[in-house]
Amino acid sequence: MSTTGTSTIGGMGHRVKRKEDPRFLRGKGNYVDDIKLPGMLYMDIVRSPYAHANITKIDASKALAIPGVLAVVTGKDLDAAGLAWMPTLMSDKQMVLPVDRVVYQAQEVAAVIATERYIAADAIAQVEVEYDPLPPVIDPFKAMEADAPLVRPDREQKTNHIWHWEAGDAAKTDEAFKQADVVVKQDLYIPRIHVASIETCGCVASFDRVAGKLTVYMTTQAPHAIRTVFSLVTGIPEHKIRIISPDIGGGFGGKVPVYPGYVVACVASLQTGHPVKWIEDRSENLQADSFARDYHISAELAANNDGTMKALRVKTLADHGAFDAAANPSKFPAGLFSVITGSYGLEAAHVAVDGVYTNKPSGGVAYRCSFRVTEAVHTIERMVDTLAQQLKMDPADVRMKNFIPPEAFPYKSATGWEYDSGNYPAALRKAMEKIDYAGLRKEQAEKRAKGELMGIGISTFTEIVGAGPSHTFDILGIKMFDSCEIRVHPTGSVIARIGVQSQGQGHETTFAQIVAEELGLPVENITVEHGDTDTAPYGLGTYASRSTPTAGAATAVAARKIRDKARKIAAHLLEANPDDLEWQDYKFQVKGTPGRSVGMKEIAFAAYTNFPSDVEAGLEAVDYYDPPNMTFPFGAYICVVDIDRGTGQVKIRRFVAVDDCGNIINPMIVDGQIHGGLTMGMAPALLEAITYDENGNMQQGTFMEYLLPTAMETPAWETDKTVTPSPHHPFGAKGVGESATVGAPPAIANAVVDALSHLGVTHVDIPFTPWKIYAILEEHGVAE
């Protein structure tokens, strides 16, 4: 793909400054909590103090007596309307409000509707709820025991086991293990974490009784799918529902699910005829919204003594909380976890995952990660290092030895994925050169001799993004295509509307660049709109790094449809045969006659003023793009850590990230995505984890306990790239938004274990908090 766009066009490969920024820089963004409608009411939510309890009584009389309180909505009210439960994306159902039982702490119990925000907050304290506590199920392993209390007695199956899922070839894997010289085994826990976007979730639901239309301004990453689900659940005709996803203050997967608050706010607006605003506070967001990870993994890797990897066997217990409300494509209860063979050519692999209910909020949403890929990458990248340590080989050598060779693409993995393209050795070599790997190993040896703890960690990951081909991927039956509609106006400016939705990714800029490149019109004359279901074409939304692979492709294809029509108009204007024209330097020219050419601006004008008789007026097109395959971005990361023997603190001294996401639309934006992704990769490695006590009390309910990285812990990330285009994407791009979140944690983990390996340490689970590391230092007699 060319990156020859001139600066006046601002097409592919240009560092075009963002179109979104002028409003954000002036405080003129339009986030959900900024929306104020006439007569708007406010909703606040009563939440359960218990993780597991029967509700014996709800008395709202004191709350209703407060001036300004209009209604208290309970599960019984919703039940009467058939709305006490709603479907999840994973063939499960979840409570909107409970009728008689709560199943996690901070679960929504009732909602107060009042004229003012503060009155609603006053009133929730006056809703009297009587509970009869039940024994909670917190440990997922105990949940699987026969005598465990039942989290979900509403189900036919009277166990806490949700599903069993597997991929790969068990027999072939067993056979490969038998023939291997060496088997390394490691248990890993990937803790429960929370995306904690700086903007919490919320909505303004506004039901117009005259028009019979429900408009919902909503913090959602998938407005179209939400509209369809709302219509199916409530019975409101779909054309009478409008979902608007305005400016969104970060998504990262946490704004994919439908939370009870959204639904109750809609019901409250239907009941009162007033707009109803609901905005979570941070504690509600951290305690009750869906969580990521929480995988208990047991992995075995078989290899020969020379370091040749042969097979991988993985068993996992997945803690899904009280409802299986994971945000995965419907056929993938464990997401894309089976991409776990990573960048390596294994003979065989087998993966099994069991989902289990516990008395916690729903798990299984992403944390800036494409459907469980982070868990997979962490496992394989740790196992490669475990093998290297066992065989006393350099982890870089083991990787080089086992990489899928560049000439083997497209490559069919042992678990059935077809990797589109890759050049793994090139990326690792680049990272090693950039960081001076040999020099670092020398320095490490010197430091070790002095008793200092320095570690070097490598991660050479493969991502799988861009769901997806419709034969494999759907959400509640809706195929995971995506879309773009482009209209070229008579004067040569453009509006493009896309089925995906930005939460900071800069779609208004990058999608305009795609159109600019394809049509040869300047990027500043192209407006991109998204997020309003009344105007944008249907799409599945932005998550799992799918925008560029799917809607980006749709944008290019729609633009090419316009170009096809433009060719006929150009032929008319140039008095030539369409077949005699070529698209060159953003213009149609008569082949071999550069002087006879016409640009898209003139063609656009002609499309409305002077078009040939056999061509329709106008210049617009729409495309619904069904990708033939996923895209497989990859990268090579190297991390250097120093561990303070006096405090146990892990400090990232350097981190080099070489990423390959194929052809790049806007290098400035890709760099920004990688910086942010690396930071959200570092966060669970060093700081973030959600834990519960034995009663199911969540222990990180504010930002004073749940520690997000600040500028102090975050290193100055060093980024670089290789470019291996996707062979099947219209402009050779792959998704990139989550690569770094997926790739960074094992680089840090491998560095920490490497720093301690000479002491006999073979594994430490993330996060590497100072107290955890200090305990290890004490255990090995090296604490200061």
Binding site: P22, G27, K28, D33, D34, Q505, Q673
Partner: protein, 172 residues
């Protein structure tokens, strides 16, 4: 029970009868209708609500509006002057210092006040200065560059009058 407050907001006098418990951030967002100041955590941790109170960056989610009666408050809406982006806004634009934009107003209010006292800061000083402002999108790399860009612009802006040739009559 209400209390009367009168303060200056971005150079304009604002007064209102308010509940004593009204948080400053809600006063700014819902009484004065300036929604550029955001709420991210309620515990003074994230800094999305940072405004300048008498020039000092302060988190408006844990202050009552009545506590700042008479104060001079500046919010993100007060940065732009005469249609010109301020150096800090220009820095964030040029260096791609924002993605979702939610933390950006608070981040800029902190950084701008910091640069007034530290015209030529080191990277470590910048990182320390913004450590009370959380950003989930950018990984801070480009925010640091944005602040460095603004520092340079502000130094140039201040240096200009000194370097300007003296054309007025010599002082007597």
């Amino acid at each position: 029970m209400t209390q009367h407050v009168k303060l200056t907001l971005n150079g304009q006098p604002v007064e209102a009868d308010i509940e004593p418990r009204l948080l400053l951030v809600h006063f700014i967002r819902e009484v004065a209708n300036l929604t550029g100041t955001h709420i991210g955590c309620d515990t003074t941790s994230c800094g999305a609500c940072t405004v300048q109170i008498n020039g000092v960056p302060s988190k408006s989610c844990t202050l009552f509006a009545v506590q700042v009666d008479g104060a001079d408050i500046r919010t993100v809406e007060g940065l732009e002057q005469d249609g010109q982006l301020s150096p800090i806004q220009e820095g964030f634009f040029e260096e791609h210092g924002l993605q979702c934009g939610f933390c950006t107003p608070g981040m800029m209010m902190t950084a701008e006040a910091f640069l007034r006292d530290h015209p030529d800061p080191s990277e470590a000083e910048i990182r320390q200065a913004i450590s009370g402002n959380l950003c989930r999108c950018t990984g801070y790399v480009n925010i640091v560059k944005s602040i460095q860009h603004a520092a340079l612009r502000m130094r140039e802006g201040q240096a200009a009058p000194q370097e300007a040739p003296v054309t007025a009559e010599a002082p007597r």
